[in-house]
């Protein structure tokens, strides 16, 4: 009983602390700009969850973040820090966009869309595979490898779109392909009209459930978590650690790559250079606040999507960059308070154990 209670406290307290710190920091930033904090916070809420368009935009942004957050969480569960979700996301979107161009226009969407989803999965997985192998075969640290790969892959995509004639003249995006378009939510729920929210949301929810099942119910997930907790112990119990590392990075890359379809298939219907726009890096925040739990990732993605959409809503009063500061503060505060809360809870005298029997 008290074990569960501690676990819940360990999970919730750091997040609450981080929110409080971010709120205070936000107040200071708002005041420094000569605005009223209560008014700005109210505007942020009404501009996000206060109307259908705002809700739609939050859902759209959260969709990408669910994928990148899951990607980082899968890596962390295996003890690997995937900083490469940004380029995996971009590569997935690129693969989906280019394959959409190659497929015959007459192909039914029922076939064309799954093929593009598969391409996105493979595109991201390929980028994830490299640091996985470098770690498993050569012992190269995955943090450095994924950071270096971000630069390499993003530069390569920039070249591929600007120097090979893939892009529409004068732009950095491919032509619009409507035969692989995932329908917008507004097609079914008219009140979402104008927002970018689209059917990829369902894929995101499905991915959450599949990743949760894989991590906590499947044999592979057990091995992956064992490697993440104690690679040496996992090794000696017969788990092939290098193989788990590679598979985990391929999976992480694939999931991040799938996220690219939210923009490419669901929103613009083309690949555009730089569309990832930091969503991969924000995935680190999402995984951290979501405590590497797929359902926690879902909630954290909604939170960070609310922040970034909220930034646009308050821009008339306070620069939207305020939310970038707050994102950083939330990450730092969670990172600082997770070990601190754990220490405080562990060092707390075991009062509960003594008093409970008396009350009973």
């Amino acid at each position: 009983m008290s074990g569960t209670k501690t676990a819940i406290e360990e999970g919730v307290l750091p997040t609450l602390t981080a929110l409080l710190v971010a709120l205070v920091a936000g107040d200071l930033l708002i005041l420094s700009y000569g605005q009223s904090p209560s008014e700005v916070w109210r505007l942020m809420l009404s501009g996000t969850w206060g109307n259908a368009y705002g809700i739609g935009q939050v859902l759209y942004k959260a969709t990408t973040l669910v994928f990148t957050g899951l990607s980082v969480a899968i890596g962390l569960r295996a003890g690997l820090f995937n900083i490469g979700a940004e380029s995996q996301l971009a590569a997935g979107g690129f693969a989906a966009g280019v394959l959409g161009l190659l497929l015959p226009v007459s192909l039914t969407p029922w076939l064309a869309i799954p093929v593009c989803l598969l391409a996105a999965l493979l595109g991201g997985a390929m980028v994830g595979f490299v640091p996985g192998v470098l770690r498993a075969r050569f012992g190269a640290h995955e943090v450095i490898a994924t950071i270096m790969l971000n630069f390499i892959v993003l530069a390569f995509l920039n070249w591929a779109i600007s120097a090979t004639g893939l892009a529409v003249t004068e732009t950095l995006h491919t032509p619009v392909v409507l035969s692989t378009a995932v329908p917008r939510l507004a097609a079914y729920v008219p009140m979402f009209h104008g927002s970018a929210a689209n059917g990829t949301i369902l894929l995101a929810l499905l991915t959450v459930v599949i990743v949760a099942w894989l991590l906590f119910r499947a044999r592979f997930g057990y091995e992956l978590r064992a490697v993440g907790l104690q690679p040496m112990a996992a090794e000696s119990s017969g788990i092939r650690v290098p193989r788990v590392w590679i598979t985990a990075m391929v999976l992480a890359g694939g999931v991040a790559g799938l996220g690219g379809t939210n923009f490419v298939l669901g929103y613009k219907n083309y690949f555009e250079d730089g569309f990832s726009g930091g969503a991969g890096f924000l995935g680190i925040a999402v995984a951290l606040v979501g405590r590497n739990n797929p359902f926690g990732v879902l909630l954290a993605a909604l939170f960070f999507a609310t922040l970034s959409q909220g930034g646009l809503a308050i821009h008339a009063l306070v620069p939207k960059q305020m939310v970038e500061v707050l994102e950083g503060i939330v990450i730092l505060a969670v990172a600082v308070s997770v070990p601190e809360v754990r220490r405080l809870l562990r060092s707390r005298p075991a009062k509960a154990a003594v008093t409970t029997p008396v009350q009973a």
């Binding site: 305020m322 994102e327 601190e340």
Partner: protein, 291 residues
Amino acid sequence: MLLLLLLQTLRIAIPYLFAASGGVLAERAGIVSLTLEGFMLTGAFCATLGSFYFGSPWMGLLLGVAGGAVFGAIHAVATIRFKADQIVSAVAINLMVVGLTRFFLRLAFDSSSNSPRVAGFGGDGNAGVLATFTNPLVLLGILVMPALAWVIDRTRFGLRVRAVGEKPEAATTLGISVDRIRYGAVITSGALAALGGCYLALDQHQFTDQMTAGRGFIALAAVIFGRWTPVRAGIACLLFAFAEALQIQVQGTGVLPSQFVSMIPYVLTLVALAGVVGRAVPPAALGRAEG
């Protein structure tokens, strides 16, 4: 042509040299240096503020270094006192600094892209020999790696930095305060990397949004490619800068697309990490929070 190329190499290398020196120092003490980018950007912005409000590049330099030291201290407190994950703290700081510089760019100069022109060093855009060598930050930048090599190899502080980075437990038994040495190393690394940002801002006489443009990560690549020693990291900085200068010189001739040239530092670092040309072995305690 050759002189121009070498001069340009030097000018491109200066911010790398400063940032990489900070990176070598912090990583040798056992703290991961993914923060260099954030430290540099802080330095560039604070230098611009200082130069703008006091009308002197020297005040800019002072403020820039102070700003870098403050963020170095934040990273140090988070990772040493609170034992926060070093990589997460670095990601947070880099993100926060981008947001803060943009926020205060709007607040101070009401712009979303750049500051007005401020006093700086050297004539801006002037790549002449005189302009380059009268810039005090160029001279300092040339000296920083040899000086760091001396500090790390020959001084007591350097010996202790190496000790806490390799065997913190052993250092503790010798009565060395691991935490204090690490605080010193990380805060100094913030100040050193910030100098690289100061150079960028004061050389261009203004701050532009995200003007460091990933240079902190190239510097980190140089640290790893140089296997965590100052002299080799310095040579790596010059090598990366030379590739960039060469690319600028041959631009338009279509020999190699600029995107591929920009990949060179990162590819070389991956190759070094994979041990293809001799293994890059990091300090033993790198990334481990020690009690």
